[in-house]
């Protein structure tokens, strides 16, 4: 962000100062934005629908929009990364179980019959 000023006696307009992004209220702005994008990308495959996910993602981020303490922000970003891992695990398990059910039905029945008395 650039701050402009006019030199005395109606002189030229010159650059007074450049304020870099790191001076701004949210020092982890870039990380937070990337986290949001990554979660949004993952949300496309969410079982309850991409829209459902996007609504909740947005409200979750908006709820914390006034946090300024970098330590707090870092904690929230870490929580976001954890959610990413959870989602990846959810998607993998869903797919694995669907494939197992579809293609390994004999194995499933064998497993389900453990402990049942044989007549």
């Amino acid at each position: 962000m650039v701050i402009w000023t006019r030199l005395p006696n109606r002189g030229k307009v010159v650059k007074a100062a450049t304020v870099s992004g790191s001076d701004m209220a949210n020092p982890l702005r870039r990380e937070v934005r990337q986290l949001y994008k990554n979660l949004l990308f993952l949300g496309r495959e969410y079982p309850k629908g991409a829209d459902y996910f996007r609504e909740r993602l947005k409200s979750a981020f908006m709820k914390n929009k006034d946090v300024t303490d970098p330590k707090e922000i870092k904690k929230l970003v870490d929580r976001g990364e954890f959610v990413i891992k959870e989602l990846e695990a959810l998607y993998y398990l869903r797919k694995y179980r669907a494939m197992k059910k579809r293609y390994y039905e004999d194995e499933m029945s064998a497993v389900l019959n453990i402990g049942r008395p044989v007549d």
Binding site: Q34, F41, L42, I84, Y91, Y96, A98, M99, R102
Partner: protein
């Protein structure tokens, strides 16, 4: 060190409810979510794992089909493949494309790229053929390790633990070889957004089957596609006598 070819197929996403076209000529694919075949994901993961262990040098992802399959190749690149090859097949050729044509393409590519391993998924979730790996090995006269649930490279040989009826079979085959991935071979990594962005820099070469000397003529014609018979609703009975009477009427006893 060696080069590995991995086949990836673009199929209708596993979670989508399949609908048969009104004319029974096939399945509705327009506007339907597509993704990489789950067994192909496992194949890609295995190849990338081998590269990370420094047992192989380069992983090339290959897919055959119209322009949309480049999305699938991009996913494979995001998972860690080095480059991609898109064999362009469209229209009637694409509809008639099956394991025979694919295996001919892979055989030609394996020779051209001097690959030491071809890793494929054991079958595609749309056609459930479970033939491409086997046919490719036969065309190349290479050994095959199919239904692999564990792969270990030991010098010029590959130890493969195969999932078969009744248990596991361990075989040792020489390279070059064809492997097909089964469900428990590994846990595929997710292609996250940062990885997909990085993968945009990787190259995807474009070619046609004719460039590889492969004719796409199919010897198989699909006559009709029908939905499986709908499951009839269950009937609840009040007493055991009712159940016996119903089973008798049914002809079951």
């Amino acid at each position: 060190m060696s080069r590995v070819l991995v086949g990836v197929k673009r199929v209708i996403d596993y979670a989508v409810k399949i609908r048969v076209k009104p004319d029974h000529s096939g399945v509705v694919t327009d506007g339907v979510k597509h993704s990489m075949n789950p067994f192909c994901e496992i194949a890609v993961e295995e190849a990338v794992k081998l590269k990370e262990k420094k047992l192989i040098k380069e992983v090339v992802a290959v897919s055959c089909g119209p322009t949309q399959v480049t999305e699938t190749i991009r996913t494979a690149l995001a998972m860690g493949c080095d480059r991609g090859i898109h064999v362009e097949v469209s229209g009637k050729d694409y509809e008639a494309m099956g394991p025979l044509q694919i295996s001919k393409i892979f055989a030609a590519l394996a020779k051209k790229e001097e690959a030491s391993l071809i890793i494929l998924g054991k079958q595609a979730i749309d056609d459930d053929c479970n033939q491409t790996g086997q046919m490719t090995a036969a065309l190349l006269d290479w050994p095959q390790g199919t239904f692999a649930s564990e792969v270990t490279i030991d010098g010029e040989k590959v130890k493969v633990v195969r999932e078969i009826d009744g248990g596991l079979e361990t075989i040792k085959i020489s390279m070059p070889a064809v492997l097909t991935a089964d469900l428990r071979l590994n846990t595929p990594r997710y292609a996250t957004l940062p990885n997909i962005m990085k993968a945009k820099k990787k190259k995807i070469a474009n070619m046609k089957p004719a460039d590889l000397g492969v004719d796409m003529v199919s010897r198989v014609e699909v006559l009709r596609v029908d939905e499986p018979p709908t499951r009839l609703a269950g009937v609840k009975v009040e007493t055991v006598d009712d159940l016996v009477a119903k089973l008798r009427a049914n002809g079951t006893i």
